[in-house]
């Protein structure tokens, strides 16, 4: 750009211009060459599988015997009671778990943001620690905690809160409660860290001004902290939504989708369709595209809501 401005108007404009465009072209080629390795890897390991799975989702057949089925898999979706169950379970987990977790994370973050709080370093670490544990390890521990003779029942019995032990993992309602508490336990600290980081970027003078004007604590939280955190809340809401829609490890290890499919999620159903049942990879790919569409639609809605409020 600079070179062109300097040489503009000179007699050898055309020739020089040609040289500049040659330079630009060679820069472009060099640039593409530099990013080529990354692009090739992305193409092989991301774009190609995505396109291939889209193609797969139109295939029918058992095991490795594929044939093109057109919309057969999509029609199958609408008539599949297990898919409907998995979808409604997933949406239920989403609707219940994500708001609870984000609110808890926000509350913890604002409590631990108080510089006068004693031992806040300890509490921050303690609440964040669950999300560095392995998914498998913590699921197994939750399973033993909520066994019929596990710690949860023993504690509740000792406190005289219940008369008979609760059959946590064999009862459809309690199994969902256990799964939701497990995910909440693991991911609340993770989201809290985002809020904490964002809170430390809020200018303290805003709070001081509000304090001088006599704004009560709850209103300072609701009308200053929350709006200032909006982009971060949006980010955590989107990532948590995606995470919950892909929920697999916990339900696979804790309940294996049971009892009575009460905790069967879409991801677990995809797994069953591919690796447990008579493999129907085409249909499994179709179900996975349902997750893709759900993630897209829900993220879009969340973006729109956030944008509206910003105006």
């Amino acid at each position: 750009m600079v070179a062109e401005v300097e040489t503009s108007g000179s007699m050898q404009d055309r020739r020089r211009g040609g040289a500049a465009s040659n330079l630009a072209r060679s820069e472009q080629i060099n640039g593409w060459l530099f990013i080529m390795p990354a692009l090739v890897l992305l193409g092989i390991f991301m774009v190609y599988p995505i396109l291939w799975s889209l193609w797969m989702s139109f295939q029918v057949g058992r095991g490795m015997n594929f044939s093109f089925g057109g919309f057969a898999n999509i029609i199958r979706l609408t008539q599949d009671p297990v898919f409907i169950r998995a979808l409604s379970n997933t949406l239920l987990f989403l609707a219940v778990q994500v708001p609870i977790m984000l609110m808890l994370a926000l509350l913890f973050a604002s409590a631990l943001n108080d510089s006068k709080l004693w031992g806040r370093g300890f509490f921050r670490t303690a609440i964040f620690l669950p999300c560095v544990t392995s998914l498998v390890a913590y699921s197994v521990i939750f399973k033993s905690i909520f066994a019929l003779d596990g710690i949860a029942n023993q504690a509740l019995l000792a406190l005289q809160l219940i008369e008979n032990p609760i059959n946590w993992l064999s009862d459809p309602f309690w199994a969902r409660v256990v799964v939701i508490s497990a995910i909440t336990w693991r991911w609340t600290g993770y989201n809290m860290i985002f809020y904490l980081a964002a809170m430390q970027n809020i200018d303290r003078s805003i709070y001081e001004a509000a304090k001088i004007d006599g704004v009560p604590t709850w209103a300072r939280f609701w009308f200053i902290t929350v709006p200032m955190l909006k982009p971060v809340i949006l980010f955590t809401a989107v990532t948590s939504t995606i995470g919950t829609l892909q929920l697999f490890d916990e339900v696979n290890l804790l309940t294996n989708g049971g009892p009575s499919d009460a905790t069967l999620t879409l991801s677990l159903y995809i797994y069953n369709l591919s690796f447990r049942f008579m493999p129907s990879f085409g249909y499994a790919a179709t179900v996975s595209y349902v997750i893709v569409i759900l993630v897209g639609v829900l993220s879009l809605i969340q973006f729109l809501i956030a944008r509206d409020r910003r105006r």
């Binding site: 490795m64 015997n65 009671p81 064999s170 009575s260 493999p279």
Partner: protein
């Protein structure tokens, strides 16, 4: 450039040489056979025993028996076969009879047909049938899952019941026995795992029925045996003689620890029960109960049973086939040993003439259990497991809470039928 090329050539030659020498070593001896199976007390132990016999002739060869959780092994195998990569697959894999056709039909070419190496006329025909597809047979038939009712003789005697009270009874008679035991001693007769459908499968096959007919059509709605099985299951739960357990370990732990007094299962459960030598002489085996009021219902049924399959991609394929053919395919003495030690009722017909099959077992209070199991085995009605047993099981398990809580059986059957039909299209 020249030096680079020549260096490259030299290293290639070296690699080729190394490859050749590795290959020749492998061909000469010291090969390791990798086997996947799922029970250290049962099929894993029998495989070790078989190989130790093979080793007598081939002292340099070794075996690596890899034990998984059964469901995990099946899913790992399926995932790996689907990926098309044969790296890391074993030479021999154990597959349960219910699933055999699913694997054979889903992954053509993944398993090695053994017709030219093994004389299938020497094995029980129904086991051969289960592993045959398009005229080729792929398995070395292993154990039968003939069912029996395993009970604690000492604890049932406290309530006044002896072996004669359990001979050829119906499920409802068993429920009455369980109620009396509970009244007399306060003990629970049976553990039940609500996440499994083993009991339903035993009941179905005992009356010659299954989720599917011989042509693979769904036979759930309108099948009197299926209805009777669900009703019996509901009565069993309602009678209070069962206690819920979660998962296999809790299930077997329940009756081996004396928390519950009995179980009905395949003959292979012998291995788990015998793993507690302190309970020797305190166990008995009766035929599994039969369904009340169902035509063709008998006291013989099947649960599980499995066979060994050689993978076409096996690095040690020759050795795997040779090993299966020489030990598993003809060593009658070997079958006597695994019968007594592991309760493995093999499918090699000649083995049933052996002395162990005639002997009584002190662990089971001196009953002639092996002869009994052999007799019951002959009475098992043959059914077609089809390729969708897993899907049908999932549909049944999904309705277990409804059955347990006393739901209407006709509605439940309609729901199971709808789900199975949808899942098996």
């Amino acid at each position: 450039m020249t030096s680079f090329t020549s260096r490259w050539r030299r290293s290639l030659a070296a690699a080729a040489l190394a490859g050749t020498s590795l290959f020749s070593v492998a061909a000469a001896s010291a090969a390791e056979l990798v086997v996947w199976c799922w029970d250290p007390n049962f099929n894993g132990a029998t495989m070790q025993e078989a190989f130790s016999r093979y080793q007598a002739e081939h002292p340099d060869d070794t075996i690596n028996v890899v034990i998984f959780d059964k469901a995990a092994m099946e899913q790992k195998l399926q995932a790996q076969l689907a990926s098309g990569s044969t790296d890391g697959l074993p030479d021999i894999v154990l597959i349960e009879d219910y699933r055999a056709q699913k694997y054979l039909q889903s992954f053509p070419g993944a398993f090695e047909p053994l017709n030219s190496h093994i004389d299938y006329s020497t094995f029980a025909p129904y086991k051969v049938e289960l592993a045959t597809l398009n005229g080729q047979t792929y398995s070395l038939p292993f154990d039968s899952g003939v069912t029996g009712y395993f009970y604690r003789t000492d604890l049932l005697a406290e309530a006044g019941f002896g072996p004669e009270d359990l001979e050829n009874i119906t499920w409802d008679q068993l429920i009455e026995i369980g109620k009396t035991v509970k009244e007399e001693t306060g003990q629970i007769l049976l553990p039940i795992d609500p996440t499994g459908s083993d009991w339903i499968r035993i009941m179905l096959q005992s009356a010659g029925s299954w989720y599917f007919d011989a042509d693979g059509n769904v036979t759930i709605a309108g099948n009197p045996v299926f209805k009777a099985a669900l009703e019996t299951y509901q009565r069993l739960i309602a009678s209070g003689i069962t206690t819920p357990v979660s998962g296999w370990t809790e299930y077997t732990g329940s009756f081996t620890s004396g928390k519950t007094l009995s179980t009905f299962s395949g003959v292979w459960m012998t291995a788990t029960i015998k793993a507690n030598p302190d309970q020797a002489g305190q166990w008995g085996v009766a035929p599994s109960p039969r369904l009340d009021g169902v035509e063709g219902a008998g006291n013989a049924s099947n649960l599980g049973g499995s066979s060994w399959y050689v993978l076409s991609s096996a690095p040690q394929k020759e050795m795997a086939i040779d090993f299966l053919a020489t030990i598993w395919g003809s060593d009658v003495d070997f079958y006597q040993k695994i019968l007594v030690n592991q309760g493995a009722l093999g499918s090699l017909l000649a083995a049933r003439e052996g002395e162990a099959y005639q002997a009584s077992d002190e662990f089971f209070s001196g009953q002639p259990v092996w002869q009994n199991f052999s007799d019951w085995l002959a009475e098992i009605p043959a059914v077609n497991y089809g390729i969708f047993t897993e899907e049908a099981d999932a549909a049944v398990v999904a309705q277990v809470p409804a059955i347990t809580s006393g739901g209407n059986i006709d509605d439940i059957i309609a729901a199971i039928d709808a789900q199975v039909r949808q899942q098996t299209q």
